[in-house]
């Protein structure tokens, strides 16, 4: 299984190369990988059935509890089959759709990486690995939405998707961490058996909300749905694969996966029922307003995801079975419809449904694919969409009052989806020839193969439902429900209540289809009246964020070095004095115990004070800099006297170099000769200086009073010569005992050097503010 997941990443490396040799035909070759993964997982089926689940363990970073563990049960098998199966046709379709595109190789690479990440999400068992792959799908989705990166709309959509799903992913991570630590185990396979413990835990609600945030953002539930329609900026193969058939289903997968441990509680039912139901209605309603084929499909995808969420919220075996069937049906028909929409755009040059028309005669095969997908979407016998609908109606009919409300929502939503599905499939194809930018004709085999096969799969799944019902669907349902599902599925269940509801749905849908233009005008009017939506809210939020950052920057980054220094030192004084006073830890000095300074100590002290005096009264900056050096040298001599020759040595050199560098900086920046301060400024500077200086003195005195733990010093003294063959302990610590620290430090020195170099060489053109900032930075780092 490891190879099945990771092979996508490996092949992605070679995809651009393959494209160089084979051109767009590389799509055929690259499709072999998902195809073989599909066959591989099909081959695992028997084992999954007999053992309930397959577990595979690969150590990755065992010390962190991070392992690549894979868990293949009914639900992950279904997802893996969908991802690899649809992926096969998407690879072929991509070759046809982006034929001749300069960056087709890159596109293939992104697609393969996405597919591998998605497989990782549904197959991983380790919570951290799930999170990792989850974020990888967000990142690849970002790259794919922004594939056409020269367009501003693409970049915005890509960023928006990344921000929304990324934030959701972080919430999910928090949920995972709480979940994992409260159980003491990060393996989903093990956690699944702790359902009762988790539901009784007081942490249940936080875990539920955090994980659902991840699922809702990824699966575009209201109010996080807005990124999905915008993601249609991506090339159509991306929309078909990521934003309808697979990636957006990751949230659904997460909810299915955690159903045994989080599901079937009041909180779960309410949250999923309300948000899912609302998303379903809102999605279909907004979809009716759209005139762009891809936008219509995007909003119905959002609606379908809402429907799935709602069904999982309703819970119980029947609803889950409905959800699994609808998941299968939706992936097949929506993937197909997106590819059809892409083909129409490719051939006719527009996606505007009001301009399209009469394409059916020109592109019969595409028309057939569109029709069969729409039949499944509308839930018409004998397609799998029909059985999914029957199944969910059946389940919702026999439930509590909440289920009854959900049933009405489901009927309304399905009716609207029926209308929209046929609008997408029929309006561009039938009627008189539309006014289109391109002379349309049938696309090549690479373009129609995918939608036709997916459509036929939908048909085949419907006809063979009795067989699927007790194999793959059964294993998926029992994996979610954690029990043995026993319902038999039939294509024709006789004349019963669900069938009646189905007929009601279809009639409603047909009415909406008949009055489609009026419905669109109505939806348009209502949505215009509402005006505001989360999409606009996102922009407002970003604008607010920028304004606040600007405010913070303007307040603290004034561009005046004096302000920076003053603020830093004031803060430093506070950091030293406040804790010392608050904890009543002022140094307690016993002056009588101190010995009187010897005459040379007193002499050096005098030099230091003289140096300080010179700094204060100096007329020119240069004099102050040099005088500061006097002070430094005096301190260095003191170090020497008290037995720290290394420190003293270093201090000498640093003082020398500081004087040189400061003088250089001064001449380079053409500063004023004098730096005299007057009045208020001088008083503030004096107070700050005295506060910091006396603070340090007090701090050092206080430190001297505490009991020193000498074990480290003793260790170094004892072993410096014995182990490290060196008598200079300071040096031995630097280059042997603590060599790794030193390695880090010299890397910092080097990096700082390079950065300072870059800042000095930075020459902003006609940009006064920036140049001011650059210079100040320089001054700062030099001093």
């Amino acid at each position: 299984m490891l190879l099945a997941v990771l092979s996508g990443f490996i092949l992605a490396l070679f995809a651009p190369l393959l494209k160089r040799f084979l051109g767009y035909r590389a799509g055929w070759v690259l499709a072999l990988l998902p195809a073989s993964i599909f066959i591989y997982f099909l081959g695992q089926y028997d084992q999954v059935m007999s053992q309930h689940a397959i577990f595979e363990y690969h150590p990755w970073i065992p010390s962190l509890g991070l392992n690549l563990t894979f868990y293949l049960d009914g639900i992950s098998l279904l997802f893996a089959l969908l991802i690899s199966g649809i992926g096969t046709f998407i690879m072929i379709y991509s070759g046809g759709y982006l034929k001749g595109h300069v960056h087709l190789g890159r596109f293939f690479a992104f697609m393969l990486m996405f597919m591998a990440s998605m497989l990782g999400v549904v197959l991983s068992s380790n919570l951290m690995a799930i999170f990792l792959f989850w974020e990888l799908t967000s990142v690849t989705s970002f790259l794919l939405i922004g594939f056409d990166h020269l367009r501003q709309a693409s970049r915005r959509a890509a960023l928006q998707a990344l921000v929304v799903t990324g934030l959701g992913g972080l919430a999910m991570l928090a949920g995972f961490v709480i979940l994992g630590t409260s159980i003491g185990n990060f393996e989903m396979a093990d956690i699944l058996s702790f359902g009762d413990v988790i539901k009784d835990s007081e942490l249940y609600v936080p875990i539920l909300i955090l994980i659902l945030l991840g699922a809702f953002t990824k699966s575009a539930q209201f109010p996080f749905h807005f990124w999905l329609p915008n993601a249609m900026e991506a090339p159509t193969p991306v929309s078909a694969f990521l934003h309808s058939a697979t990636m957006v289903k990751a949230g659904i997968y997460l909810m299915m996966r955690t159903y045994p441990i989080l599901g079937d509680t009041v909180e779960w039912s309410l949250l999923l029922g309300i948000f899912g139901g609302f998303t379903l209605l809102a999605g279909t309603f907004i979809a009716i307003r759209q005139t762009d084929l891809k936008q219509m499909l995007a909003y119905t995808t959002m609606a379908s995801l809402g429907l799935l969420t709602m069904l999982l919220g309703a819970g119980g075996e029947g609803a889950i079975e409905g959800a699994v069937l609808y998941l299968l049906a939706h992936s097949l028909f929506k993937g197909g419809l997106f590819m059809v929409a892409g083909t129409i755009y490719h051939e006719a040059g527009t996606l505007d449904i009001t301009k399209l028309g009469g394409l059916g005669r020109k592109m019969p095969i595409t028309f057939f694919a569109a029709l069969i997908a729409a039949l499944s979407m509308g839930g018409i016998i004998p397609l799998v969409g029909f059985i999914a609908k029957e199944s969910m109606y059946h389940a919702l009919l026999h439930g509590d009052p909440l289920s009854f409300i959900l049933l009405i929502v489901a009927i309304l939503g399905n009716a609207m989806m029926f209308a929209i599905g046929f609008a997408v499939a029929l309006k561009p194809m039938m009627g008189k020839m539309g006014d289109m930018p391109k002379q349309a004709h049938e696309g090549g085999i690479m373009l129609w193969l995918g939608p036709v096969v997916l459509g036929l799969c939908g048909l085949a799944a419907g006809i063979s439902i009795a067989y699927l019902g007790h194999t793959i669907v059964h294993s998926a349902v029992s994996a979610i429900g954690n029990e043995n599902a026993g319902t038999e599925l039939h294509l024709w269940g006789g004349i019963n209540a669900p069938l009646m509801l189905s007929l009601l749905t279809m009639s409603l849908g047909a009415i909406i289809y008949y009055f489609y233009d009026q419905a669109r005008a109505f939806a348009d009017a209502v949505l215009n009246w509402i005006g505001w939506g989360p999409n606009k809210g996102f922009d407002q939020f970003l604008a607010l964020l920028l304004r606040v950052s600007q405010l913070v920057t303007d307040t603290f980054q004034t561009g005046h070095l004096k302000t920076y220094m003053r603020n830093t030192f004031i803060l430093l004084a506070l950091v030293i004095w406040v804790p010392m006073i608050a904890y009543d830890a002022l140094p307690d000095i016993d002056f009588s115990s101190l010995s009187a300074p010897t005459f040379y100590e007193a002499g050096i002290l005098l030099i230091a004070v003289l140096g300080l005096y010179a700094v204060l009264v100096a007329k020119s900056r240069l004099t102050s800099i040099v005088s500061l050096g006097i002070l430094g040298f005096a301190v260095a001599i003191l170090f020497m006297l008290f037995g720290a020759p290394d420190l003293s040595f270093t201090q000498f050199m640093v003082e020398t170099l500081t004087a040189v560098i400061l003088a250089l900086v001064m001449t380079r920046l053409k500063l004023d000769k004098s730096d005299a301060k007057y009045g208020m400024e001088a008083i503030v500077a004096a107070i700050v200086a005295i506060a910091v200086g006396s603070g340090f003195a007090a701090l050092l005195l206080r430190v001297m009073q505490t009991e020193l733990d000498m074990s480290l010093s003793d260790y170094f003294t004892k072993y410096s010569a014995a182990i490290a063959h060196g008598h200079n302990i300071v040096n031995v610590i630097l280059v042997d005992f603590r060599a790794l620290d030193t390695l880090g430090e010299i890397s910092v020195v080097m990096t700082t050097g390079v950065v300072i170099l870059a800042l000095i060489k930075l020459k902003p053109k006609n940009h006064k503010h920036a140049s001011q900032k650059g210079k100040n930075k320089l001054k700062e780092s030099a001093s």
């Binding site: 020759p645 290394d646 040595f649 270093t650 050199m653 640093v654 020398t656 170099l657 040189v660 560098i661 250089l664 900086v665 380079r668 182990i723 490290a724 063959h725 060196g726 008598h727 200079n728 300071v730 040096n731 031995v732 630097l734 280059v735 042997d736 060599a739 790794l740 030193t742 390695l743 010299i746 890397s747 020195v749 080097m750 700082t752 050097g753 390079v754 300072i756 170099l757 000095i760 060489k761 020459k763 030099a782």
Partner: protein
């Protein structure tokens, strides 16, 4: 600075300082000194030479770009950890070899020494790079 005395004496002084810096670097394991201090001395030497004879002279004398020297230093310090991999001890553990010099004399070669020389290069490189760039006219 254009005093003839400084210009005359600076090259000799620089050379002396660099020799002293190497001396301080190599004796550092047992006496006060080491790569950091040695590097600072060498950097001061460069500063002196730069002030007296100009930036170009220093750049010519160094031959390599100072940033290159610094980068080489980091690399060298990091590479001194490779022998510990071979000996299967923790990264950057000190390892000593006795290199025979003939006449029964031995030279103690060790990874800490290589590491220290790396530190020396970083300090000289980084500080000289900053100083020379500051000194150069726009």
């Amino acid at each position: 600075m254009n005093t003839i005395i400084l210009r005359t004496i600076a090259p000799a002084l620089t050379a002396l300082m660099i020799i002293f810096s190497l001396f301080v670097l190599l004796r550092g394991h047992n006496e006060p000194g080491g790569g950091f201090i040695g590097g600072l001395i060498a950097a001061s030497a460069m500063a002196l030479y730069g002030i007296s004879s100009g930036v170009q002279a220093v750049r010519r004398a160094l031959y390599f770009h100072p940033v290159t020297m610094g980068g080489f230093g980091v690399l060298m310090a990091a590479c001194s950890g490779i022998p510990s991999y071979i000996n299967n001890v923790p990264f950057l553990s000190g390892i000593w070899w006795k290199v025979p010099l003939g006449d029964g004399e031995y030279f103690d070669l060790s990874t800490p020494m290589i590491f220290d020389i790396g530190v020396w290069f970083v300090v000289v490189g980084a500080i000289t790079a900053i100083m020379l760039t500051l000194e150069e006219a726009d």
